[in-house]
């Protein structure tokens, strides 16, 4: 009796697992896409009944995981370099195709208590500034921007992802940080955003992996993101639209 019950439970469990795996895709995406992708994924699941599992982290971390053989269907990087590296190593069934763009902004605590006016103010000696680490795409963009504008910033911390950088300001530990516009939008009223003229534009290339468990579903999600509906969702969360060139960039 006990054995039959056990067998029945195991069968039920296996069936549940099978159903879940059949209609789910795994997406590795840059942390700056967190809120936008969660919304777009919810929409996609609602329309197609396909689940979307998001693994959100710094693009450099995700690239490392994928190069080490992590199983995924789709990779959306904040940096074309990582996308290409993964595409070369794992092979690509589709892509790289851009899904969005993003620009850097300065975020400060709500109320701007330290009166930060622009990029030059970040070099101030008493200001506590958080930057993404150089290995993070946003960190590389930030460095480039600061070099171009000849502003020397002594960061107080170099965080492993943009969202971690943002959290330093929302927690009140840092006075200012350089993050993406989408991150600033996600923080809402907790921060004040100072836009930057001539910010480098980050492009998010997406790659459907050659050995993806569900390449067709992954393609469908990619198309969903690039379609007008998906683009609106992304823009609503602070991102810029995907560049509309004829060829894949």
């Amino acid at each position: 009796m006990r054995r039959r019950l056990l067998a029945a439970l195991l069968a039920l469990f296996a069936a549940a697992c099978a159903t879940a795996d059949d209609r789910t895709i795994t997406v590795f995406a840059a942390s700056s896409l967190t809120d936008a992708l969660q919304a777009a994924a919810a929409d996609f699941t609602h329309r197609t009944d396909v689940g979307v599992r998001l693994n959100l982290a710094g693009s450099q971390q995700l690239a490392r995981q994928l190069l080490d053989g992590a199983v995924a269907d789709l990779f959306i990087s904040a940096d074309p370099g990582f996308a290409t590296e993964v595409a070369d190593a794992r092979g690509t069934a589709d892509g790289p195709l851009p899904v969005a763009t993003n620009v850097l902004v300065i975020v400060v605590e709500a109320g701007n208590p330290h009166g930060v006016g622009g990029l030059a103010d970040l070099g101030g000696p008493s200001l506590r500034v958080a930057l993404p680490a150089p290995a993070v795409p946003a960190g590389a963009y930030a460095r480039r921007l600061l070099e171009q504008r000849e502003v020397r910033v002594e960061a107080d911390t170099l965080e492993p992802s943009v969202r971690a950088t943002l959290s330093r300001v929302t927690l009140g530990e840092a006075d200012a940080a350089l993050v993406y516009a989408s991150d600033a939008v996600a923080a809402g009223d907790a921060v004040e955003t100072l836009p930057l003229a001539d910010s480098p534009v980050a492009t998010y290339p997406a790659v459907v992996l050659d050995d993806a468990p569900a390449p067709e579903l992954a393609r469908a999600f990619l198309e969903h993101l690039r379609a007008p509906g998906g683009q609106t969702t992304l823009v609503d969360h602070g991102l810029g639209p995907a560049p509309t060139t004829g060829a894949a960039s």
Partner: protein, 272 residues
């Protein structure tokens, strides 16, 4: 149900085989990461990577902060161990739980707690910043605090056991000879509990050296200031795998040396 002698022998033989296989699996689980790391170490790049300023900074910082943290944990932990072992203080049970909490708390949770308590806007950190102008996050001092926090239970555990194991007659003899409480503690109790204190401090140091989650959450990450070796390994994994492996092997070597030095003392301090 009684067993026959052959049945008993067979059962015992079967158990022996099972134990053997499980032990072998455990050994492989433990040895494989070490072996893989050593196999993949870029020995030819050891000089180049060993003199890289970021690597040197991480090594120096780790050495400094872990030693300071072990010291802080000892200075704070021994009195707590004393209270737990030698007094009838009401609420001792709660104090013990509190003292051992960092042992089971996930390090990132510990870091978050430290941030909420001692951060710039923290419960105690806010007033501290306003009154004294001292902020712990993003500073080396913050790293020491985070490491001391997670290392403290090791001192308390080991030293309390050490104090409990002492026979009171030596202290009683000292008392009859006219020694006051502090002299008795200094000349009799502490020396007798020496091995327990020693192993507690060593384990605390080892834990402080390996601390990652609480450090990166509370103190942040900045080369030369707050980027200890574990943090450097974490970030190097995504940039320069060779450097990451080299740092890892270094930490591995230190850990092994520590354990060799602790052999015999480990169980003496904790298991009594």
């Amino acid at each position: 149900m009684t067993e026959t002698a052959p049945a008993t022998r067979m059962r015992r033989g079967g158990i022996a085989v099972a134990v053997g296989w499980l032990a072998l699996t455990a050994t492989v689980l433990l040895a494989a990461p070490v072996a893989a790391m050593l196999a993949r170490t870029p020995w030819s790049r050891i000089v180049e990577l060993g003199t890289d300023p970021a690597v040197v900074a991480a090594l120096r910082l780790s050495a400094l902060t872990s030693l300071l943290a072990a010291g802080m944990a000892t200075v704070l932990g021994v009195p707590v161990a004393w209270l737990l072992a030698r007094t009838e203080l009401p609420g001792r049970g709660a104090l013990r739980i509190l003292a051992l909490l960092p042992l089971v708390l996930p390090p990132v949770v510990a870091g978050t707690g430290l941030l909420l308590a001692f951060g710039r806007r923290g419960l105690l950190g806010g007033p501290l910043a306003e009154l004294v102008g001292v902020t712990l996050p993003f500073s080396t001092a913050g790293v020491v605090v985070a490491q001391a926090f997670v290392a403290l239970p090791f001192v308390v555990l080991s030293v309390e056991a050490g104090f409990r194991a002492l026979e009171p007659r030596y202290e009683q003899a000292a008392a009859t000879l006219g020694a006051d409480a502090w002299t008795r503690f200094r000349r009799v109790t502490l020396p007798l509990a020496g091995p327990a204190v020693g192993s507690g401090v060593m384990l605390a140091w080892a834990r402080a050296l390996g601390e990652f989650g609480a450090t990166i959450t509370f103190a942040g990450n900045l080369p030369g200031e707050t980027q200890t070796m574990p943090l450097a390994v974490f970030l190097a994994l995504e940039q320069d795998l060779d450097a990451a492996i080299l740092l890892s092997v270094l930490l591995l070597a230190v850990s092994v040396i520590l354990l060799v030095m602790l052999r015999g003392r480990f169980t003496a301090g904790l298991a009594r």
